[in-house]
């Protein structure tokens, strides 16, 4: 066993849905304490990739190692933040109860969450700036607040590796700042975070690694090396008139929004289904 194994190592990952490949022969190596974005056009298989790594979709081929051991043995190290549209926010429950759900496994069977779980949940809510909302009915939250509740729920799982599906999708500026601060705190604590991301402009600012995906893996590595115009063209197709300059060069200048940004409409995928390649 090497001294410094990858946090995530996926090999030859292939997912097909009704004979049609949605993910083809994807290799992925992510070192520990890395913030990695997965970007690619709609239908590129971004959500499918993390669901396949998490075993929520059964891949047709390939294997996933977490810290050098099969995923099945390491599941307790992994936390998942699904798209917030994946649940019914009219469900009759409050913020604190949702966050405490993250503790249910470590709590074990037949035991009720007690003062310890309550304290952990409040601590996590504090970290995302949601502590004052602990007793709030979840139907009364804004989209950004819902997202932060999901993040707090993942935090109480105390995982080593987090997978987040579009946490920045349609959130307010406060939430965006809260998520970025949280990502940095997680990296500081040695955690690895993989984020499905849509906004190409913020990739160099928020992340240190990036994977460009379009059914196949186009490129994966440190942002400075692989987040190039050529790779973006490969991932998004020739139809984009991408910035003529290096995408992560002038951070002060307002980024030119000339990318064909994927529409912000929600894609609510039923459980177990890969992204449709619409």
């Amino acid at each position: 066993m090497p001294d410094n194994p990858y946090a995530i190592e996926a090999t030859d990952l292939t997912v097909a849905y009704q004979e049609k490949p949605v993910l083809w022969d994807v290799d992925l190596r992510v070192p520990p304490a890395t913030l990695m974005a997965i970007v690619g056009p709609n239908g590129a298989g971004k959500t499918t990739l993390i669901k396949a790594i998490l075993g929520l979709i059964r891949p047709a081929a390939g294997q996933v190692l977490i810290y050098n051991k099969p995923y099945a043995e390491q599941r307790r190290l992994v936390g998942y933040v699904p798209q917030r549209g994946s649940v019914d926010w009219d469900f009759p429950t409050n913020v604190l109860d949702v966050v405490m759900m993250g503790r249910y496994r470590s709590l074990g069977w037949l035991r009720r969450p007690g003062s310890r779980e309550r304290a952990l949940a409040l601590e996590a809510l504090e970290k995302v700036g949601m502590a004052p909302f602990a007793d709030r009915q979840i139907s009364q939250l804004s989209g950004g607040q819902q997202q932060r509740v999901f993040l707090a729920r993942a935090l109480v799982q105390d995982a080593q590796i987090y997978f987040m599906d579009e946490p920045f999708q349609g959130v307010d500026a406060t939430t965006e700042r809260a998520i970025v601060a949280l990502l940095h705190a997680l990296r500081q604590a040695g955690k690895t975070v993989v984020v499905v991301h849509h906004d190409l402009q913020t990739v160099p600012e928020y992340f240190d690694w990036v994977t460009l995906l379009n059914v196949r893996r186009i490129a994966s590595g440190p942002v400075a090396e692989v987040f190039t115009e050529q790779n973006l063209r490969l991932a998004y197709g020739g139809r984009i008139a991408f910035l003529s300059r290096s995408p992560h060069a002038d951070a002060e200048e307002p980024p030119t929004p000339d990318l064909p940004m994927p529409s912000p409409t929600r894609r609510e995928e039923p459980y177990g289904y890969p992204e449709s390649a619409a």
Partner: protein
Amino acid sequence: MLQLVLEPLQYPFMVRGLLASLIVGGVCAVVGSYVVLRGMAFFGDALAHAILPGLAIGYLVGGGAREPLFWWALLAAVVSALGIGTISKSTKIHEDTAIGIVFAGMFALGIALISTVRSYSIDLAHFLFGDVLGVSPGDLWVIGGVAAGIVVIVLLFYKEFLVLSFDPLLAVTLRLPARWLEYLLLVLIALAIVVSLQTVGVALMVAMLVTPAATAYLLIRRLPHMMALAAGLASFSGVVGLYLSYYLSVASGAAIVLTATALFGLAWGGREVSRRLKLEASNHDVTG
């Protein structure tokens, strides 16, 4: 007034009917809260109807005896539930279509079997619309025992069922045995339906599952409170419905369901009115 309440209680069959309605209402409402929150009303309705061939076989095999009916009905319910799941998972047929196929097929089988018996219409009516006044002391024990078992299981697995209902993906990533919990919930729904058949019958069963739970859902914001209120409303409907049936000579199952429906209407109407009043008050604040 007191006389009105006490008079029916001189008949032991009324007392047993009332007890059965109380118990069944409560347990259906608790299980029904999951049915409402997970959008399984059609499934619940289908499961109730799909029990009919089980009742018919039990009736034919047992020569009219009551005891085997429970087990045959439960068997039919479990077979139907698993059949629906298997069809929708192994083909590209949507779950609601699979429910329709299994539900109608089983129901037709039940009718076909019952139609082979001479006193066809009377027996079919009992199964379809219930016979709460025919509850025997033995039935009451079975109903009570099964209901207690269901409530205990819901309490024991409360937090697991909560995750499963709110966020099934989280249940999987938390490494909960999501599929087994799902089956357990289906079996609980089936059990609740089977013990409730005598009160409202196959045709109106779904109302016991969804109506009180939906009423509570309108009024309450936490799941445990929703379950408690739903159970209270359902038991209340059972008792009031039975009294109405006694004094107005209407079918007891229908009276119980109509009472529950009226309570839903009241809750809904009350909410609308209070919403309008609030809106008006706030408009008034702005303009005045």
